[in-house]
Symmetry: C2
Amino acid sequence: MEFNPITPEILAEIINVTGSDHTFFEKDDLFRFSHDETEDLHFYPEVVALPKSAEEVSELVKICSNNQIPITPRGAGTSLSGGALPLHGGLVICMERMNQLIEIDERNLQATAEAGLITQVLMTAVEEKGLFYPVDPASKGSCFIGGNVSHSSGGPQVVKYGTIREYILNLQVVLPSGEIIWTGANTLKFSSGYNLTQLFIGSEGTLGIVTKIVVKLIPKPAENMVMLASFPSNESACEAVSAIFRAGQTPSSLEFIERKGIEWVMEHDSISFDLVDGIEAFLLIQVDGDNQDSLFQQCEKINVVLEENGCTDVLLADTTAQKEALWSMRRLVAVSVKSNSIYKEEDTVVPRAELPKLIKGIKEIGKKYGFESVCYGHAGDGNLHVNIIKSTMTDEEWNTVLPHGITEIFNLTVALGGTISGEHGIGYVQKGYLPLKFSATHIDLMKGIKKVFDPKGIMNPGKIF
Amino acid sequence: MEFNPITPEILAEIINVTGSDHTFFEKDDLFRFSHDETEDLHFYPEVVALPKSAEEVSELVKICSNNQIPITPRGAGTSLSGGALPLHGGLVICMERMNQLIEIDERNLQATAEAGLITQVLMTAVEEKGLFYPVDPASKGSCFIGGNVSHSSGGPQVVKYGTIREYILNLQVVLPSGEIIWTGANTLKFSSGYNLTQLFIGSEGTLGIVTKIVVKLIPKPAENMVMLASFPSNESACEAVSAIFRAGQTPSSLEFIERKGIEWVMEHDSISFDLVDGIEAFLLIQVDGDNQDSLFQQCEKINVVLEENGCTDVLLADTTAQKEALWSMRRLVAVSVKSNSIYKEEDTVVPRAELPKLIKGIKEIGKKYGFESVCYGHAGDGNLHVNIIKSTMTDEEWNTVLPHGITEIFNLTVALGGTISGEHGIGYVQKGYLPLKFSATHIDLMKGIKKVFDPKGIMNPGKIF
């Protein structure tokens, strides 16, 4: 695709829509829109506009469509696959001013939000009404719900409550033509033609810009319990994961952390934790429900399974503070690695009983190619995040050898019935690996769909394929 | 689209794939493939082939593609919107010989089935292993899982367990070109490009033919309880529905039946039931879980809400036989109406708190246009089935006046935030109404997607749009 630069005349048209206070074009102002949370990548847009309404988004898109200007839709910039990087310059349309929680409909257990609402703000607001929106990515305190939709984001509670696909009922989107449509209906079920709501989920801003979102809410469970289980090896911890479900138990979260993850957190975040010799991996397990006795029974049943699978110690969090301490340790793993080293993050996902083979394979591949990794993630979903650390690797090794290692990791993931991203998306940094999972025919179908929505190719170009 | 007839030469090619025992072309043999369960509509195919494998399906599709022959994929023929009607003749590819349950993977809580497996067979097989596949349409004893996928089918347990979209992990499909692909991965999460699995769900056989299906399983809940609640009016019963969820309770089923529905069952199926004067509507409520005490508590909490909303009597089923009797009464409603009158069935769905307005409106529209209706359905999902009975209407009224009444029903549905089909699909009989819900732009996007997959337009032509 050929694109045009944003001329002073086009800039004036953009400013006419979003106003000079909410239109940036000086290099200093553009810096924060030149990157997301993907490695240390930077691409500068020519202009950034911060619209306040779908109508303003529509006007901006029409200007770009008329002038063949590339558009990069942007949420909070927490993406981990380069989805928000403006590879071709052009216009970034950032949703941060479209941050209203429009309605909590308690009669229908639904909420309507603008795409720029922070996920945690939505969660807290509905919890105050006894309701629950369970899709909580680790970045929930800063990420936007629109970005969650675009990346089919997950989080620790998917394992019990289902994916974001089950909670997104309807989307208002601005198409690459500038037209505004609602993709579906505000209903729990839909069998009325192709489901464009589902097609937009995970489409990474390549088909249009999500502006409003109707989500399903459920009653908030009254109680929860949190346990931390210690294991002598990664494989034994991973074996326990599928055994828990086979025993008929469905925790509300089931997270894996390897020892090295806890070590990074202890070193960089001054968290004190009694890290016993010989312990190599942990499972953080939460159960929830309305009846405390049932939860105790569930914990006991899970305990039996843990012991059968080599667990050497279980810590049951007694207080809210203790629960929060365990959860924050889990959430800090990624942050510690990212703040203190050059890294790449992979988002492998396999059928959950294949986790032991996956983690064993990843460590072997690391040895073969000379890279260190810290693994953690949503083990209950079979979703393992692999943070690869540059450490002592040379730039040469990092740039030319490591990709072969990542290819091997993804080939293993696919061979185990999995795929190369469970919840982070393909974006810019993983697109070269997509053919490891899908045939040319398959990718051509995706490209064909893209062309139906975006014949000019202006919407988030260079992402996914 | 222009299509060619099946010549003797082409028939010979087809027979070469499926053999003369599994290829039909005599009128008597074609009769059962000329209709589904949609009204009394009949369209004859020219040829019916019953393949035994995806490879055979692929061969058949290639023959049709090479010769511009229309293909109608067919499951068990239980569709309610004419999805399986061969409108343009051509070839019916019926999946009934592809009925194998290939694997129950207890380690991963997944099963793999051929598309022609009967849904109940899958459910029973996994239940024997303590597992649960909760997507159970009323026709579960005869419908095929492939048809369920193609129509985004639901059933009474969606309200707690989520839609079929949450349980279908991966699909093997034969594309209109004859190529065979898997649409996704055998994983609980997927963020690896456009989700073709989700696109195929509800696409009604217009994008390709589903041949194998990987489903997610969950642990089977140990206990359940069933209640039948009586109400003096449709509106009070429907008001109670959303009140139950607002009170923090999530039943595993929450079904609505109006008095007339029970009367039809009593008259035509010799079911004895003490139908008290003044009772106009019923809610059939099921709760399930692993702890009987919790279920009792849940029933008590629901009871309080029922009483607050005008419920006059609650019958708690004591025995398995009594539970089954109540459920069979619910399931017989549609069967009674369909076996004993000319009818049309609509599949309205709205946000659940709008149900009282929907049912009131439907009855008013019925009075205005002179038609009688029997309403029942998955009230917990806001999904109301409306069986319209011909009764004393003339053919003229039925054919020319009634469509205006249906248009009003759908306009009301859409105005309440709903859509024209929740789980039956658009197929042939509802496609004229699709523009009541979606703009021309929206429908053009759907048509564009269709064209990407099926540029020759041979796959289930004349359905959806």
